[in-house]
């Protein structure tokens, strides 16, 4: 045994990028892996479940309020109209997940653009954009989203758009804070010294270095957006032609004291989806900030 390091080891060490290091940390985080597995199962079930279990969630197929486990054809029972609950569960997740993902993407695009411009340029740009951000934070998000959806007439895209429009301020603040921290570091000064333009500095120098907290925030935003979509559908503001978990709960709300199952199963589905997303978010946070792991 010698303490010498072979050339291979040196290359191996150099090869580990920060992303790879984060992945190594993430891989060891059991709750985060549970989250990944859970979310994968849910996504696969909503994408391919209907191949194995066909049935239109809007079709009336049986007597109303059949309890779960009684009729073998309908293991989770039927709702107040006699619609199959499993069919609703399998088709109702797709819209929820899609809206969650698109809404989170819209949130991140608006938030990062506002935060980056604000943090990078400072001065009056910062002042103006931060006042706009504060204005949007004053509006109660769900109420504002409800108004937008009603005015634009509900469809999956308008719902995702409305959720994005009401949720970006936090991302903007986070991005701004990261930009303020990074923009005076030496490598940014160096980039400026070799003549890089603002646009290039923002996109290729600062933004990649601000990404870790933004990725964590994007993950958690997906969770919040899913809850938002569920809330809107629950209130009956979703697309009425699309089955979703929130809609199932909302539609069966009047009859909860006669039948607990039509509201319980979709609620559990929403819970486990958001739970999985937040476990992944926490895992990413730990992976990107190894120092915080002690807490």
């Amino acid at each position: 045994m010698t303490n010498e390091i072979s050339p291979q080891q040196v290359t191996a060490y150099k090869a580990e990028s920060p992303a790879l290091e984060a992945w190594r940390m993430f891989r060891r985080n059991i709750p985060a892996l549970v989250g990944v597995v859970l979310l994968t199962v849910i996504i696969l079930a909503t994408l391919y479940g209907t191949f194995f279990y066909s049935g239109d969630p809007f079709d009336i197929v049986w007597a109303p309020h059949e309890p779960p486990g009684v009729a073998p054809e309908f293991p989770l029972g039927t709702d107040y109209l006699g619609r199959d609950i499993i069919a609703g569960m399998l088709t109702g997740g797709g819209p929820t997940l899609a809206v969650g993902a698109v809404a989170a993407a819209i949130t991140m695009v608006i938030g990062i653009a506002m935060g980056a411009l604000s943090g990078y340029y400072g001065g009056w740009v910062d002042n103006l954009l931060m006042r706009v951000t504060e204005f949007f934070q004053v509006l109660p998000a769900l109420l504002f989203a409800m108004v937008l959806v009603t005015l634009l007439s509900p469809s999956l895209f308008t719902i995702a758009f409305a959720i994005g429009v009401v949720s970006w301020p936090q991302t903007a603040r986070l991005t701004r804070a990261e930009f303020l921290k990074i923009k005076n570091l030496e490598y940014v000064t160096a980039a400026r010294a070799i003549g890089a333009k603002d646009k290039r500095i923002i996109w290729t120098v600062i933004l990649p270095n601000a990404l870790p907290p933004l990725i964590v925030s994007a993950t958690l935003t997906v969770g919040v957006a899913i809850l938002f979509e569920a809330g809107l559908s629950f209130l009956g503001l979703g697309d009425p032609n699309v089955m979703s978990w929130g809609l199932m709960i909302g539609a069966n709300r009047e009859y909860i004291l006669d039948a607990w199952w039509p509201v319980t199963f979709p609620g559990l589905a929403i819970f486990f989806t958001v739970f999985a997303v937040s476990l992944i978010g926490d895992g990413l946070n730990d992976a990107f900030n190894p120092k915080l792991r002690e807490r």
Binding site: A141, L143, R253, V263, R295
Partner: protein, 325 residues
């Protein structure tokens, strides 16, 4: 706290509210179709005379900027328009419903901060103990549960299994003529489930946050000094540490207020709580736009006021800020 700070803060709050009024104005114009029809409500079956009177009142045949001026002027004098469903001024409708909402939101806020901070402090005593694990798990679960679903589950539980609390409305019909004291008790009894439903999510977040904030503070020198001079654990935790750990909690509490109002909207709908959220929900289904815009205006005003109060309490809590304008 200087008076000039307060005046500046209130002025800024009024400016934000002006922004909300302009936004309301733009939203009505954004709706497809004739704004007069939008204002009258699509379900209202408005007659041509009604539409004409709306066009007159809102100046809809004048240039846009004049219309905006009329609208802002109306709102400034307390005229938020008329609900064609209720046949009542929107301001009156909201005045009837704002107190139940404030009661619900403030109770939920107080409950979640009090219980959440207490759990967080207990957890911070042992960063790797059972309580800490419980707080982390609870916070993750609390974040992931849809608030309306929690409410429904509690209704099922308390209506059929444990009939301890009323699950609907704010008052019992049979107690309408009882003495004021009995009525107040009745309202509190009705308040328990909705307030807890709303508090649970934020309770979990405050617990996690105050645990982290306490852990940071507990490592500092003045805590070691307090320990060295023989202060009891309770006095160290609640007197020395919590006061310093309270600032991040206060910040979050202020920022959460808007979310709390959004949550109240769902909780009021689930529990039939006669507040502004329930009114917003009913009005949206009826496309009663003047009422919806009125609720948006008042809900935003509540957030602005909550933010001003937070800023003020921040200054009271942190002596370092007091001298500054």
């Amino acid at each position: 706290m200087t008076a000039s700070f307060l005046i500046r803060r209130i002025g800024y709050g009024l400016l934000l509210m002006l922004g909300v009024v302009v936004l309301n104005f733009l939203l009505i114009r954004l709706a497809p179709g004739d704004p007069a029809v939008v204002i009258a409500g699509e379900m209202g079956g408005a007659t041509e005379e009604m539409l004409e009177s709306i066009r007159e009142e809102y100046g809809l045949n004048k240039p846009l900027i004049v219309q905006l001026g009329i609208y802002v002027g109306n709102v400034a004098t307390g005229d938020l328009g008329e609900s064609f469903f209720f046949n009542q001024p929107v301001a009156t409708l909201i005045a009837q419903r704002i107190l139940p909402t404030i009661l619900l939101v403030v109770t939920a806020q107080v409950l979640s901060i009090a219980i959440g901070v207490f759990l967080g402090v207990l957890a911070a005593r042992k960063p790797n103990g059972v309580m800490s694990a419980f707080v982390s798990v609870f916070a993750t679960i609390g974040y992931a549960v849809p608030v309306f679903w929690t409410g429904i589950m509690l209704i099922i539980l308390f209506a059929s299994v444990l009939p301890m609390f009323p699950v609907e409305g704010m008052q019992s019909v049979k107690l309408r003529d009882a003495s004021l004291f009995v009525q107040m008790l009745d309202i509190l009894h009705h308040l328990i489930l909705p307030a807890f439903t709303l508090a649970i999510i934020y309770l979990a977040q405050y617990a996690r946050l105050s645990r982290a904030s306490m852990l940071e503070v507990l490592g500092s020198d003045y805590i070691r000094t307090a320990k060295a001079k023989g202060a009891s654990e309770r006095s160290i935790l609640f007197k020395h540490a919590l006061r310093n750990a309270a600032l991040p909690i206060l910040t979050v509490a202020g920022l959460q207020f808007g979310n709390l109002i959004s949550g109240a909207l769902l909780v009021e709908t689930v529990f039939n709580w006669p507040g502004m959220g329930r009114l917003a929900f009913d009005s949206i289904l009826r496309r009663d736009y003047p009422t919806i815009m009125g609720v948006l205006f008042f809900a935003s005003a509540m957030v602005v006021i909550a933010n001003i109060l937070t800023d003020m309490s921040y200054r009271l809590a942190d002596p370092r800020l007091r001298g500054k304008g």
